[in-house]
Symmetry: C2
């Protein structure tokens, strides 16, 4: 084990530590099944919950993974040691105008063709979604749609859908009024409208480093400056650095992905989210919270968004159904706190209204009550896919690679061995019909030149495993080429 | 006849002049049926096309109107004299920042409730649209929709739909490449993206006076300055004044509605459109052409847009299906000429993509081939409704009112008698459950305080006729109140 604290005090931690040692010693090897929970309870006289906690801990450390209905398996590399986590970025300080290059468009375009293994895609496989049931909802809801609603629902949007969204918040114990919700064309429009509502051209906006490229594009479009703040691969943005940046540069807004950040997969712990909201409230800085992945969690419940801790209406929470229910329908929303009316007006000015039939269809689907069952299946699939991709990186990629197992979503962030260029790898991979998202897409300064984002949105199969081996071989080649180069003068 | 030239030279003009004199002399009175085309051919030894031309001319002057399958009827007022046309505006010169007030939102909100007579609405009645057939297209197209298209069609949008739109252009003899077309959430998004593509904050943009309030909102949102140019109630923007404005202020773009302008209903003659395109090309000024009403024409064929005369890719043509086929679906497009790639990127940055199911449904509907039949019926209904509203204004409104019969669309622009305040009338009408769009909505400087826009989007019935009488009575009251006021000091 590299970089791993070993102090243990409770029963489950002791059990986890013991299993970890067996893995490190090669007693348990990659692919081995851990003893079942029942066996371990019996053999050690522990309660099931203690054993589960130990297994969860090992899983959170990437040492084992759960396979649906068959138990826990060791994921470690052949040498019994997992790859380390990526290091936290050290972006240059200061704000700067955003000039996104053609890279993003080129990469997005390359990831779309059907004969390409889509490790560079931003979307999970459509087969993971209940498209048939959605279609039936579309049929029955439009049959009952009154002609007048085609006109009346323009501007405010489908009221039933707003109520269903308010109920989704309520389920998390959050009280968001139906009329705070502004329906939009996907989260992307919601985020853009919120950004528009809280900034003027030339303003500075805090983003994570690395950050979602669409955030950079939105900043560029509105003539805003980006302040990139170091972001930890598991715990999200560095609050200490954020506090400094606020003092130094007085940013006009933050745009953060607090749960399962794209591309890192980081999940801010809830206490940290609360601290974030308090820090921003002290300085009156609005938070645009991009929260499209939170339904794709592991464990017992969805992580609360920062919005849950907002007492001042300063958090503009944006989400959509595109990643968890209905890709292609383009239905999202903002819950913009005290700026709700302003965002609603911007929506009216920008694109007037959402599409009435698809809004009605989603309202109907949500009311019918199959959403939870669908989400359980989707989460289980994505868990398996995340594990498979993470395992494959560990199995195949050379030493010096760094990777972290994300606790949700479908992106895996990989730091390549020193000297391996992500753009060159991107080109070499495309020649082998494999897409990936090179790190420079995720920075206003084209940083992360040795990083890639891999998408595990597909049902894992031998073709994907083979593509991972090919990718690993390309990385190997690059490592060897670097080693063979004469030292630079 | 007021304000009407009488020189006539050709046969049809002579016939028209003669009938006009009979109307003026009270021989033919309001509601009288003109002799049928067959009768007139026989009695005067003229060809049917000459008689039709004469009747069209009278119709274009507002003196007669066609009733479906029953002939032409005299529309004149009781005194045999039509109200005059509204005068052309004289907006203040210079550019100025746009600060749209709450009026627009208040008026749009007021027009939506179902118990309000919607003379202020921006939408025609949904019963005029083939909602059932669209629903069937939605059902069958989504049944055949491949899951992968839910992901693949994001960004570029449904290719079949783009092809169908290219075919609509082709039908008019225009060659617009499929990949010039950028699918958007309604024309509103298309217009916003095009405006965004050709301007930077602080730039000046030429608009018509009066202008569509959404154009003003878009200018405000992007921090642009408006230059309002006088616009004739039948023939559109004044090209002489436009040329002066271009020399003086070097605007960065024009945003015009060349066919059936909202609110005037004006239709630029084709030669004028060609001159417009040439003028702008000489100064390298892009034209954003808002062309959502052109399918709602009278006569044998749709008017060509200015885009048809564009040789330099400087016309960014924007339209949608919202006004002619599928309100509430929110499917529109831009054909942005040489700025197509830039607009496409802005679309990607703003809202990523359109809704795949509704795009597929419209593609299917258009391919099935019922569109033309639907349009014929819609045009016929709207013609009757325009005539009915125009007649009602002539019948009921007091002298001093000015109105012009638009040759397409569903808006009628009314200049109220001197001293009658549109905002006061708006409030008084709302108290009677009648909405209207007061003139100040259509100007960056809240001009047009004595104008209103009336919408004839509903099937005409006794309730609408009664509402027009009520409205006329309110105008009468206001005229009397003005007359009773002591002269201002």
């Amino acid at each position: 084990m590299r970089d791993r604290p070993t102090a243990a005090s409770t029963r489950f931690e002791l059990l986890a530590q013991e299993l970890e040692q067996q893995i490190a010693a090669g007693v348990l090897r990659a692919g081995d099944r851990l003893p079942s929970v029942r066996q371990t309870c019996a053999s050690r006289g522990l309660s099931p919950s203690t054993v589960f906690q130990a297994y969860y801990l090992l899983e959170s450390r990437g040492l084992v993974r759960a396979a649906p209905r068959s138990g826990y398996f060791v994921t470690a590399r052949a040498d019994g040691v997992l790859l380390s986590e990526p290091k936290t970025s050290e972006p240059q300080s200061g704000s700067q105008p955003v000039e996104v290059n053609d890279l993003i468009y080129a990469c997005l375009g390359a990831a779309r063709a059907r004969d390409i293994v889509p490790f560079g895609s931003a979307f999970p496989s459509p087969v993971l979604f209940p498209l048939d049931r959605l279609r039936r909802a579309l049929v029955s809801s439009t049959r009952r749609l009154e002609p007048w609603s085609m006109v009346e629902d323009l501007p405010p949007g489908n009221l039933r859908l707003k109520r269903e969204i308010a109920k989704l918040y309520l389920r998390q114990g959050m009280n968001v009024a139906t009329d705070e919700i502004v329906l939009t064309h996907g989260a992307m429009e919601a985020l853009n409208l919120c950004l528009n509502a809280v900034t003027r051209p030339g303003d500075a906006v805090v983003v994570e480093s690395p950050t979602f490229y669409m955030a950079l594009q939105a900043l560029q479009r509105l003539g805003l400056r980006a302040i990139e703040v170091p972001t930890h691969c598991r715990e999200g943005i560095d609050l200490g650095r954020l506090a400094q940046v606020i003092e130094l540069y007085r940013p006009n807004a933050c745009w953060l992905m607090t749960s399962f950040q794209n591309p890192l997969g980081s999940l801010m712990p809830e206490a940290k989210k609360r601290d974030l909201v308090e820090l921003l409230a002290r300085h009156d800085v609005p938070l645009i919270e991009d929260d499209v992945y939170s339904e794709l969690y592991e464990g017992p419940a969805a992580p609360l968004p920062a919005k849950a801790y907002d007492r001042r209406g300063l958090v503009l929470h944006c989400s959509s159904f595109s990643k968890c229910l209905a890709p292609g329908y383009r239905v999202g929303w903002a819950a913009p706190g005290r700026l709700a009316r302003e965002v609603e007006r911007l929506k009216l000015m920008t694109s007037l209204s959402g599409s009435i039939p698809v809004q009605a269809a989603l309202a109907e689907y949500l009311q019918e009550g199959g959403y939870d069952r669908h989400l359980r299946g989707l989460r289980q699939s994505l868990l398996t896919q995340r594990n498979s991709l993470f395992d494959a990186v560990n199995r195949h990629f050379p030493d010096g690679t760094r990777v972290v197992r994300p606790a949700g979503g479908y992106f895996v962030w990989v730091e390549l061995p020193v000297g391996v260029d992500a753009m060159a790898l991107h080109r070499a991979a495309l020649a082998q019909h494999i897409s990936l998202a090179p790190g420079p897409m995720f920075s206003a300064r084209a940083e992360f030149q040795h990083h890639i984002r891999l998408t595990c949105g597909q049902l894992w199969d031998e073709a994907l495993e083979r593509a991972m081996r090919t990718l690993a071989r390309l990385v190997d080649d690059a490592v060897r080429a670097v080693a063979a180069e004469p030292a630079s003068v």
